[in-house]
Symmetry: C2
């Protein structure tokens, strides 16, 4: 596959930024990779890991880059765009990896000059680990990359979107386009609410008076541990997600609580059929997830795979 870009710059070297750097090199999607992180320790670590050419200045990092990827938490996107803005070359493509799109687009757009192409994006990929050491080249393999191009743009803009799509495909992603508003609603359901629930149940379990934390940990394999994994994700990233996708999250959370109240009532009144029907529906959804290739059918995800 031919090189997609001669030079790219990545601002923010966490799990995602480091993975893009590794993947772009591994799959020949960029010739040179410039990196910048606001944290000097992270820059130092990025140098040690040999992730690319590390700069101590955001403007210098983006100079002459054809693609600039903002890979910082959602709440820091505007500042990252401002920090590099004056260094951007004419016609550069600027994208981001934020889990929220409408609020991020607003924050970035006002910081950027008119002579660059802003094509917002969101890779639906990650693990519960964070930081530059957590990055790896195959993170985006067979994962969705959602692009939310701005409406009503020129042909040159459309070409920039195509080129960015080409870049993500080179990294192994499946690419989908969607408008930013829809993205935020869909992600509130499939990602933001599940994380919120997981954070809530894990924090709650720490606070109980009648069950000790060590009992919770000891017996966590009975269901609880599955929640601890996604609750281990980066707290800054998630704080920013909830603050910036507030309306969609509150709406779906309201729905969740309403349904939970109905379930609570069914338990209180011993309505076995209601419970059975609901549990049976949930089980069918699992089959669809597996049929769609979105998860492993192995029991316990292979954690306790039968050895015989």
């Amino acid at each position: 596959m031919p090189m997609v870009f001669d030079r790219i710059a990545i601002l923010g070297v966490g799990l995602i930024g480091a993975s893009i750097a590794r993947a772009a090199r591994e799959y020949g999607a960029a010739n040179t990779i410039a990196l910048y992180d606001a944290n000097p320790d992270v820059r130092e670590r990025a140098r040690e890991l040999g992730l690319g050419e590390v700069f101590d200045d955001a403007e210098k990092a983006v100079a002459s880059a054809e693609l600039v990827v903002l890979a910082v938490p959602v709440g820091a996107m505007g500042a990252a765009a401002s920090a590099c803005s004056r260094g951007l070359r004419i016609g550069a493509i600027v994208t981001d990896v934020g889990s929220v799109k409408q609020a991020v687009v607003e924050a970035i757009a006002e910081a950027l000059p008119a002579y660059v192409y802003l094509v917002p994006g969101h890779p639906l990929a990650g693990t519960e680990h964070s930081g530059p050491d957590a990055g790896f080249a195959t993170l985006f393999h067979n994962r969705w990359q959602i692009l939310t191009p701005l409406p009503g743009q020129t042909d040159a803009y459309a070409a920039a979107v195509d080129q960015l799509e080409h870049f993500w495909r080179a990294l192994g992603s499946n690419v989908e386009r969607m408008d930013a508003q829809r993205h935020d609603v869909v992600l509130a359901v499939v990602s933001h609410l599940p994380h919120l629930i997981a954070f809530n149940i894990v924090a709650m379990a720490e606070d109980l008076e009648n069950v000790t934390e060590s009992e919770v940990v000891k017996y966590s394999a009975s269901g609880f541990r599955d929640f601890t994994r996604i609750a281990a994700s980066d707290p800054t990233m998630w704080r920013d997600v909830f603050l910036n996708n507030r309306d969609a999250v509150l709406e779906v959370l309201g729905r969740f609580s309403e349904d939970l109240a109905a379930l609570q009532r069914a338990i209180r009144w011993g309505e076995g059929d209601t419970l059975y029907d609901l549990f049976d529906r949930a089980r069918r959804m699992r089959r669809e997830v597996i049929d769609a290739g979105q998860d492993s059918p192995a029991p316990n995800w292979g954690r306790d795979e039968p050895s015989s």
Copy 2:
């Protein structure tokens, strides 16, 4: 290791019953294994799988067994005990595998003759799969087996408890003793509530008007799919758990909802520090679960393990 029992009988050949049969043979914990299931199709399948000597009658299955294991859903425990009661030999040990202990003990105890030893138990082991084909010999390896012996018993009873503990250790379990009331509270936290939440969010996602089911499935890897796994467990089993551990589940559910309402408020009012602190606490709990050897530290449980 010497044989623990000469003859055991298992009533109910689902995931757990079939796994006990396979494990008891594999690890030499029983010489002969008698099986019974109320469903003729399951009996037929148990014969095909060669899981043991399959009987068409519960009383005949338990005749001369030193240990009888009731491995049926919590709501069917009383009926299973009644069905085999008259066939039990004097001095037999009767145990169960129910996820709820107080209600099950009541239901079983009144169906049993005075000349057997009832030692309730609960293996904290399972997968999201069910039925005789889902069973495997290593299911109980390094998993907790909780025994909830009845209070105020004789020395002969204490010896029966020891022998049952020996049996579970032979299957690879770690054994813990606890009183039934405490078991039900602890399990409500670490298992019953997580399952209820997972069922609720998965069923809710099926019902949304503004996000389609296929979108949820397509993008489920961003968090949602982790909930679908535990929501795939047997609906009958779980209906019975909630109906039979109602008080403890409602109490912990009330706590969860209260905390969730506080989180909702923090999002609505943009209280970033509150969110950060809570997410950070949840993350620490994950580390404890991993340090305690209760889960794999691999990213995504190794589902997306880096190939390089």
